[in-house]
Amino acid sequence: MRARIASGDRSAKGLPAMSVRGLRLFLWLVLAVVLPVPIWLLGPGSVPALYLFELGSVATVFGLAEGLRGVVGLTALVFVGQAVVYLALLYGIAAVIARACSRHPWIVFVAAAALIVTASVLPIYHSPYNAHASQVTLLSVYP
């Protein structure tokens, strides 16, 4: 698991050395920040998992500032809960991909770059929670 990625392949692509663990972490972060996932509850929509976490955090801040009355705590829990489930799922996916691509890390980097560019250009996210537009790009999904 901790083995370094093959030096021959690395030098061929001119990429920095990275452990499988590092690759997994990198991929997980990219997926959490960029990959649109459906909102299960209090939707509909498809947003990054980190965005759901953001909504949960906002609800938590609201509750801390004004008291966890009524459904404020539940709302925060619903968003954070969804985010945690997705983050766990994405971690698993990242682990599988990292292991599969451990000898060809450039595939991961290229795919991640393509995903980030696509998400930055195309309005692939759909969120009723954004203030000004529902169909948004990566550059505007996080208010």
Binding site: V58, G70, V71, V72, P128, Y129, A131, P143
Partner: protein
């Protein structure tokens, strides 16, 4: 018969002698005035951008825009582009005769503070969240302020909430100014706005909401609200203290709504503190709550869906609180006293015990629009009413609303003229009816001396008033030997306009409630038309098929009348089937369910979503009390 023909006939009728409605304001008498009263249509439940939950849904139109729209003008609605230009416009096919903007009283000040840079509190956490995540704020604010038993002002409202209370004065005055500006005090009497607000108690997400309507421009300095006055009893007492008994010429009535979402709390048969109701409690309530909103955007509240009365399945919500609506696995059946029929029956039982009926309620309907769009009730042009769960703030969803909601209804009122005094008096005496949207006109009289051939009389209304009482009234004891009261119902279909003709009528029913062995009983009687007329609708084009009636009229005598049992009777007028709004929307998007439902249009292919409805009207009841006989004897 069209409304115009009816009015022409009415103007030829001999004038029945009735007490003149007291005039409480200075205005020209209306040119069109008739003592046998005319039908007027309006909407008494309208939210604008002054309501926090409407803002959260992207509504920008205020009270002035609402009244412009009610008068027939075109207005723009959300979503808006970056320049602030609305991407949709709406317009009524026919203007309304009256309307009342009834914004939520609870967050008037908070809403103003959060939208006005420079006001103290504008930069608070709550306001920042409201501006950056409006829909999230909608959930959090509703969930922490209105859906709880012990609402507290937010910290940015300052000590004792004074900052928000003070800020509420601005919107409250804006509501009054708009009502005054659009009130036609000329003899033309084209449009009548009422000053009002909504008291929006929601303990544990159980709606005990009430609309408060003032008779004229004399109103309290500020609206009562659930944060300070947390029970209906406190609201009524405040209205007595600050309006009715204040000696300032203020007059008011209260219209509860959404019994279907009240968890049975809106019409409790005991005091809020659990103590038994007293006669004084019942009198206080009955003096203010004279009408019930029987249907609206958030479902129908007439009666519980049942096998014995299949028409009760009309527009029933699949859940019993708004909180449940977001969590389908929690959906439950509404408890007792969640529907008008149960409430009216409970009122009869209480009357037997207390001598006063605290639930003596006439029936009207409204939209509860949160788009500042009063009277927007057409099924074929429904764009949602922005009452939560489906927002069009930033985009138009494929289906404009959650499938379980509907466009709402209208209030009908029999009044001498289109003025505040005349309309308000009509509402107070409950000479009012509700429709599920179409402008069905219905008259309903009851009396022991009512002629059997009243339907063939050219002066139906004049004789109805002379020999009986209209909807909302109390039967007097018989003067002769008649053993049972007779009722007469006349109804005319909505003639519609141009490209949108109304649907023919199918039948008229009378619903009777009475007390037997201490419990409420009910029976539905078919009295006119034909339930098996074979009428249907072509789902592909939404074109009605089959025969129906332009007008229906019938007299009916109660075959099971017991003079010793308190009872009430109301009429239900039913149209032939027509397309529900969901079917119109699905047709407009050419949904082909054999290909699978497109995203956002799943309801088009969902078997539990009705494709057709039978629009209808409900009259206010006519009551019978055994006391009526005793009163006459003692006289």
């Amino acid at each position: 018969m069209t409304r115009i023909a009816w009015l022409a006939l009415a103007s030829l009728l001999p004038l029945a002698a009735r007490a003149e409605a007291p005039r409480t304001e200075t205005r020209e008498p209306c040119h069109h005035r008739t003592e046998v009263r005319q039908p007027f249509f309006g909407d008494t439940h309208v939210h604008t951008a002054l309501s926090f939950d409407a803002v959260g849904q992207g509504t920008r139109n205020g009270p002035r825009d609402a009244y412009r729209f009610a008068r027939g003008e075109e207005v723009g609605v959300q979503p808006y582009d970056e320049a602030g230009k609305p991407l949709r416009t709406i317009q009524l096919r026919r203007p309304l005769d009256f309307a009342a903007v009834t914004d939520h009283a609870e967050l008037l000040g908070e809403t103003r503070i959060c939208s006005a840079p420079g006001l103290p509190g504008y930069d608070s956490v709550v306001c920042r969240i409201a501006r950056r995540w409006p829909w999230l704020a909608y959930m959090l604010v509703n969930g922490s302020m209105l859906d709880v038993k012990d609402p507290q002002r937010y910290s940015f409202c300052g000590k004792n909430g004074e900052r928000c209370v003070e800020a509420a004065a601005g919107p409250w005055q804006e509501i009054q100014r708009a009502a005054e500006e659009f009130y036609d005090r000329s003899a033309a009497c084209r449009f009548t706005p009422f000053v009002g607000y909504e008291w929006s108690g929601n303990p544990d997400s159980k709606m005990i909401h009430r609309n408060v309507l003032f008779r004229n421009a004399v109103v309290p300095a500020r609206p009562a609200n659930y944060i300070e006055d947390r029970t209906g009893e406190r609201l009524w007492q405040r209205l007595r203290d600050e309006c009715l008994d204040a000696g300032i010429g203020c007059d008011v009535l209260v219209i509860p709504h959404n019994t279907n979402l009240s968890g049975g709390l809106l019409f409790r048969t005991e005091r809020e503190d659990g103590a038994p109701l007293t006669r004084a409690d019942a009198e206080l309530r009955a003096s203010l709550e004279v009408l019930l909103e029987v249907t609206q955007h958030k479902g129908d509240s007439e009666c519980r869906a049942s096998v014995s009365d299949p028409l009760c399945s009309y527009e029933k919500l699949p859940f019993s609180t708004m909180r449940e609506s977001a969590l389908p696995w929690t959906w439950s059946t509404p408890p007792e006293n969640s529907f008008a029929r149960e409430v009216l029956g409970a009122g009869l039982v209480l009357q037997s015990k207390l001598g006063v009926n605290p639930f003596k309620l006439g029936l009207i309907a409204a939209t509860d629009t949160h788009l500042a769009a009063p009277g927007l009730v057409d099924e074929d042009r429904f764009i949602g009413h922005a009452a939560g769960r489906s927002t069009s703030r930033t985009e138009v969803p494929p289906l404009p609303d959650q499938w379980w909601f509907n466009p709402g209804g209208l209030a009908g009122v029999w009044a001498e003229e289109n003025s505040r005094d005349s309309l308000f008096e009509a509402m107070r005496r409950r000479e009012a009816w509700g429709t599920s949207g179409p402008r069905i006109v219905v008259r309903f009289f009851g009396g022991f001396d009512l002629p059997e051939d009243l339907c063939s009389a050219h002066d139906f209304a004049a004789q109805g008033y002379e020999h009986g009482v209209p909807m909302g009234g109390d039967l007097s004891a018989p003067t002769r030997s008649e053993a049972a009261p007779r009722f007469a119902v006349w109804a005319a279909r909505d003639a519609g306009v141009g490209d949108a003709p109304g649907t023919p009528l199918q039948r008229i029913q009378i619903v009777k409630l009475w007390v037997e062995n201490g419990a409420s009983r009910e029976q539905v009687y078919e009295i006119a038309g034909n339930a098996a007329n074979g009428a249907d609708v072509d789902l592909a084009s939404c074109t009605p098929k089959g025969a129906g009636a332009d007008t229906l009229c019938s007299t009916w005598r109660d075959p099971d009348f017991d003079p010793n049992a308190p009872a009430l009777y109301y009429a239900r007028v039913v149209e032939n089937p027509s397309c529900r709004w969901t079917q119109w929307a699905c047709n407009a998007r050419s949904v082909d369910c054999s290909m699978g439902a497109p995203d956002g249009l799943e309801a088009c292919c969902d078997a539990q979503v009705p494709k057709t409805i039978q629009e209808r009207a409900w009259t206010s009841p006519i009551w019978w009390s055994p006391d009526a006989g005793e009163r006459r004897s003692s006289k």
